[in-house]
């Protein structure tokens, strides 16, 4: 976001909102991660405990989802910045 249009007091308040949002965003990320990996990895209900195959799948899925988020975040940031610059020039 471009904060150039806000005064210092407004920026302070916006900063507070961002901090409150971070906790909610982390929870959303975490629940998305659990839902996706559970749905993709757990398909054997012949026993109550996780099989070693399922445990490995969950571990790979967690890593992959984290890296996916990171990579999308990088591209998202770059493209969003390009867009902002285009808007300022036009």
């Amino acid at each position: 976001m471009d904060f150039g249009m806000y005064n210092d007091a407004e920026r302070q308040q916006i900063q507070k909102i961002i901090e409150q949002k971070q906790m909610r965003d982390f929870l959303k990320f975490y629940t998305n991660l659990v839902d996706r990996c559970f749905n993709d990895c757990i398909n054997d209900f012949t026993s109550k405990s996780l099989t070693s195959k399922e445990e490995k799948c969950i571990s790979y899925c967690t890593d992959k989802f984290l890296k996916h988020n990171e990579r999308v975040g990088q591209r998202f940031g770059e493209l969003n910045q390009q867009l902002m610059q285009q808007q300022q020039q036009s």
Binding site: Y30, C37, F38, L50
Partner: protein, 98 residues
Amino acid sequence: MFSPFSSSASQQTVNQQNVAMAEQELEMLTDTFYRIVDSCYKKCIPPKYTEGELNKGESVCIDRCVSKFFDVNAKIGEAIQKKGQQSGIGGSVTGFGA
């Protein structure tokens, strides 16, 4: 719960942060519940309905599915914490045991 000698509730001060924390834990708990309902329905209940009862296979599947969801939730919570990507949020993020 009532005792004539305890201070009455109306005289106690309410820590709004405590109340907000309880509210958030409650939200997380019910959110987790609904996500399990959803996931385990997809895993255990085939979408052709020839009766209104849960049959034996479906019932057992549900029990195991809920149990496995708790395990996956805990496992991923630990993995995330180990990666230290969210220091300071700690164990309660899992939405369980709140």
